[in-house]
Structures are given as C-alpha cells and as structure tokens.
Amino acid sequence: IAEIELPMGGWPDLIRIMLENISTDNATLKQSTLQAIGYVCEATDPSVLASQSNDILTAVVQGARKEEPNQEVRLAAINALINSLDFIKENFEREGERNFIMQVVCEATQSTSSDVQVAAFQCLVRIMQTYYDKMRLYMEKALFGLTVAGMNNEDDRVALQAIEFWSTVCDEEIDLKEELLEAQEMGEQPERQTYHFAELALGDILPVLLWILTKQEEDYDEDEWTVSMASATCLSLLAQCVGNLVIGPVVPFIESNIQNENWRNREAAVMAFGSIMDGPDPNVLTPLVDQALPTLIAMMKDPVVHVKDTVAWTLGRICELLIQCIKPEVHMNELVSALVYGLQDSPRIVGNCCWSLMNLAEQLGPAPGDEAPTSTLSVFFEGIITALLQFTERSNNEANCRTSAYEAISTLAMYSANDCINTVQRIVLTILDRLEVTMAMENQILDADDRASHSELQSSLLGVLTNCIRRLSRDISQVADRIMTVVLQLLNNQSKQATTTEDAFLAIGAMTSALEADFNRYAELFVPILCNALQNPSEYQLCFIAVGLIGDICRALGKDAAPYCNNLMQLLVTNLQSPVLHRTVKPAILSCFGDIALAIGESFGAYLDVVMMVLQQAGSMRAERDNYEMIDYVNTLYEGCTEAYVGIVQGLNGTPQAQMLLPFLPNVFEFIRCVAADQNGTDTLTRSIIGLLGDLAETFESQLKTFFQQDWVGQLLRDARTSRHYGSSTKETSRWAKEMIKRACQ
C-alpha cells in the first residue's frame, strides 16, 4: 500500500506511526514494525523517502545496536537497514554518521545469533556495492579481519555471505579497472579511484578460499548454492581482478591436490585450475595448461562423477579462453575422444562436453561467411556430429543436456569447413525427419508440461536447421521444398506456442538469404502468415522478428516484393502508431521502410508522403538529459530514421520519383544537423548520418549545393575523419561522403 500511496503524497503519517511503535518496549511490536519499515524501504522509490531518511535511519540503527537485547529485533533492524541503504546517501556522506552505521554493522557480525551475523554480512555486501569509495578506512581497520573470520565460520550461511563480500569487492574493482581503461583510451582521468582491496587481501583470503573449495557436498545432483561453489566463483572473480598475482599461491595447491586419493581434493584442484583461466596473462598460463592438459584429459575417466564434471568444465574453459594451448597433433585426438566419450555420462557432464565441443568449433573453425577448404576439426567432424545426433535422440532434457547438444550441433555446423558440407547436409535431413515426427506427435500431447517440452524440442530443431541453412546457403536449394513444407505446416498448426513461430520465422529468414530471388515461389504462401503475426502487437517479440523478416524478403526478392508491399506497409504504419506495441519494435519498423524502399525503388513513391511524415515525427523525439535509458532509445530511433532515409534515397536514386523527395529535404537536413550536434550520438549513428549525406549528394548532385555548403556539414565530416572518438569505418565513410559532396558541389 505504501508503494502506491507514498509517491502520491498519501498516508503522510505512516512513517511517524511506525517510528512511535519502535520507541515502545513491546519487542514484538518493535520487530514487526522494523520488518514493515524494511518492506516499505525496499518497495518505495528512494527519492520519496529521502526527506524522512534521518528519522528512519535513527530508528533502524537504534534497533540494530549491540545494546538491543532482543536478537530478533536486531535482525529486523539490520534487514531494514539493508533496504534503507539507497536513500541514506547523504547520511553516509557525513563521516560521523557513517562511522556509527559501520560500527553498528561490524558489531552485528559478532552477534551470538547466526541469523544476525548472516544479515550483518549481507548488509556489508550491500554497503560495499553502494559505497565502495568510502570503504578504505573500514577495510583497514575492521573489514579484512571480520570477513576472513566470517569465511571460516562453521555456519555455512555466514561463510557464504563473507565470501560474497569478497566477490562483491572483486566485482567493483573489475568495473573500476574497465572504467580506468576506458578513461585512458579517451585520454581522460577516471571518475572513481580503485583501492586494490582484493590485491591487498590476497594473502589472507586465497588460502581460506582454497580450503573451502574442498568442502564440497556429497550429493552431486543437488542444485543448492554451497560454500565450495561460492568459493570457486570468488576465486574466478579474484583471478579477473588481480590477474597474474593469483597464479603463485594457487599453483602449489593444484599440484599437491590434483592426484590426491580423496576426490574432494582432486575436484578442488581442478576447480581452482579452471577458475583462474580468465584474468592472468595467457602467455603466463600457457605453459601451465600445456603441462596439465594430458592429466586433465585422462581425468575425464575419474571414478567420481563430481570430478569428471569439473574436469569437463575446465576443458571447456581452456577451449574457450586458451585455444592456442591445444596442439592439433598432440592433444586433439585424445581431447575430442574424451569429450565424445563424456556424452555417455550424466546429463551435467554432457552439458559441459557439449560446451567444450562448441568452443572448439568456434575457435578452430572458419568464421561464418569465411569459406575455408578444411580446418583442424574437420577430421573429427563426422564423428562428433554422429555422437551428438545419437545423444539427442533421447526424450528427456535433464539439466538442459539435450538443448546443449543441439546448440553444439548448431555451432559445429555454423563453423564447419567446406570438407564437412556433406555432414551438414546430413544434419539437415535428420533434423527434418525429427521435425516431421514432432508434428505427427502433436495430438499425443497430454498436458502443459508436455506442450512446453514438445515446443522446446521444436525450437532446438529449428535452431539447428536455421544455422545449417545459413551455412549451406545456395546449396540448401535441393531440399528447399521439403524445408518450406515442414516449416509452413508447423506455422499453420494452431496450437503452437509463439516461440515456435519465432524460430520458424528465423528459419524462413535464413531461407530468404540462401535462395534470394528463388524464394519468390514460397512468398505467396508465406506472406499471409507474416501478416498475421504483424496483426498481433501484444506478441511484440514475434512482431520484431516479423518486421526483420520483411527486410529479409525485400532483400531477397527486390522488385518482386512489390505486390506484397501495400499490405505490409499498411500493417507497419498501423503498428508504428499502436500504443500496445512495445517501443523496441518501432525503430526496426523505420529501418524496414528503408529495406522496402531499397527493394522496390520507384514504386515506393506511393508511400512517400506517409513515411516521410512518420520519419519527421520520430526524428523530432528528444530524450531528457540524464535519462540514459531514453537517450539509448532515442539513439536507436534516430538510427532507424537514418536507415529509412538511406533506403529511400538510394532506392529512388536514378528514378523520376526522386524529385518527389525534394520538398522533404529541408527537414531531413535539419534532422541530420540535430543528430550531428547531439552530444549523446554514437559512432554508428554518426557514420549513418554521414553516409546519408553522401547518398543525398550522389542522388541530387548540385540541387542541394546550398545545403552542403553549410558550415556544420564540413565540420561534421572533418570531425569524423580526425577525432579519435570515431572508428575506422566512420572515417572511411566520411572520406567517401566528402568526395561525393565535392563532386556534387562542383
């Protein structure tokens, strides 16, 4: 109720009543009221409560002090304090008040009640997240010691929060490191300073973290968050934070434990190794990985499932981050065999093996679009795919293992070299067989769970199919009829879920790019389905994909898309004006106008009045200062507008209809000028508007001479070529536009 009433100025005496309750001797009333304050603070916008922050804070801190005899009251007070941290910024700025709050929280970590200790450490985590800049003194005086002791606490809940405290320190310092790098790149000073708490504490916290790594739970399938998991996460963050410094203390632990007869020590050693793969210099890690790889690969046959799981994950990390360590002639055979063998293990191990195989493919195969006759993985490709296809025949998806296997197939197909094309074609046929089977099973679906699992399987199959189509490109035409029959049949099934339609649309998008003009023979059957999707703006993600698909179809069909455009344009304009449609789709609709114009050329003249009016409206949107979400959105909207203008200008170029654009051009130039002057503009947006200027010059030549001779045009082009804020692509576009404008103005 407070969340609704307080921002509207209602319930003015709420806080006063609660504060009165706290000042009574009734412990139950105090505890309940503190809980209520906690909830109110959690739910209400901090600015609404800011004017009462002093009173709330005094009451809450009063209840949290060590002098409070009732530990339940103290617990409620600390929880309320956690929720108040966002609106007591001013109090935290004042040293005296800050010292008092910190003293109360630190003392609470020493309470006799574990619940109070847990809450106190939680509070320290939130304080570190919110007020890192103010923590230097308290870290030196108290927090180092308290949190290390907390990690050693026999109550796991306390230890978990103490570990979380150091994970938070690392998170903050990783962010600060990034901010520093960004500032250096821009030649500026960073706004905030780092105090290197993680580096300073390394000697104290690393031994405890490594010891906690060996405290794994016995039950492998349990999904509970444990101290050993928290410790591994903290170690990973520490490695990212301090880099090479983590290696020295961790390597002796790995060496002395990796072949220990106790599985806990073996697993902890491998976990420690996997956790430090990201952060230190790859050149320093490489010899260590070289040395460990044969042992790790052999450990995929460890008798304990827990160990194998962590080994598979560590191999995945190596494949992802340090691929140069995997020597094709030395390790590949053993590695791939171990990973394929792992597909017969428990579902979690399968998940990690699939991820490792996927990483191998991404790192070793040719990038999508870059043809390569062969790759290091080619010789193993057929075997891996056969094993994965065999594995995916299973009916259950425990621990996401079947989805993981399909994702791996998808990636392997995408990154395959030319000598694997036959196998990719075989994947397509198998996937089509399986899709047909799923459709035949539609009427055997009994309940919602069945429906969800069925739909998830269809999504996985369509995902693989889409990537195979993208990879095979023109070669897909031999089975195009079969693909389109299956996908259209799927789309015409009334009981399907929206996500299935999305995946089917993505597959069709891939077909348009692969078949190009030959897609025309399916257009008549498919476009009505596309129109249906556009008529349901509440399913906005489907609408988003549908809008993108119109662009795909236009690029594929060119002028042959014209017969469908009346209908599609009407739906796009309606959607643009719809208050129901999520705003993220709207910039995509604008870009889509450009795609249509580019495809149908002069026929776009029929839509020019409406579209130019809509673009002018969208281009006049402004974001408030400091509203970063809106600034991002308006930038996306401007990009959509620019893409539309580019498509229209290029599409009409060389046609008699181009002259129809002339009356609108003063507004277009005003739009470009505003975007150019906007301090929030991105590199991409600047590149787009400069490209548009060049297109206008090329299309209208001397007709626009006076526009091009305005000072801001030259200034914009010069800035883009010389400022280090812009990338090479923007600089190149600017050189091109300069040349086009020079020719137009001659």
Binding site: S275, T310, G351, W355, A399, G548, D595, G694, W736
Partner: protein, 50 residues
C-alpha cells in the same frame, strides 16, 4: 560450475537467436548499402576519366 549452455534459460536462448538474426540483417543491409556507395564512387570516377 555449469557451462553457460546448461544454465541458459529458454528465454535467453531465444533472445540469443533473435540477436544473431538481427545482427545478420544489419550486416546484410550494410553490405547492400555499401555496395551501392562503392558503385557510385566507381561510376562517377569512370565518368570523370571519360
């Protein structure tokens, strides 16, 4: 530790596919537009040479 594959929800997988498609569309749009621009530069240059 679980692989990102195993811990990814269905909605996240879907989002990833959507973004991949969007990225491809952007790339294709950019290729089409760039081709036209290169052509403009070339054609104009040829005209000048003539």
């Amino acid at each position: 530790h679980r692989s990102p594959l195993a811990s990814r929800s269905r909605a996240e997988t879907q989002e990833k596919r959507r973004l991949e498609a969007l990225e491809l569309q952007k790339r294709q749009r950019s290729i089409t537009v760039s081709k036209a621009r290169q052509l403009a530069l070339g054609t104009a240059a040829e005209e000048e040479e003539e």
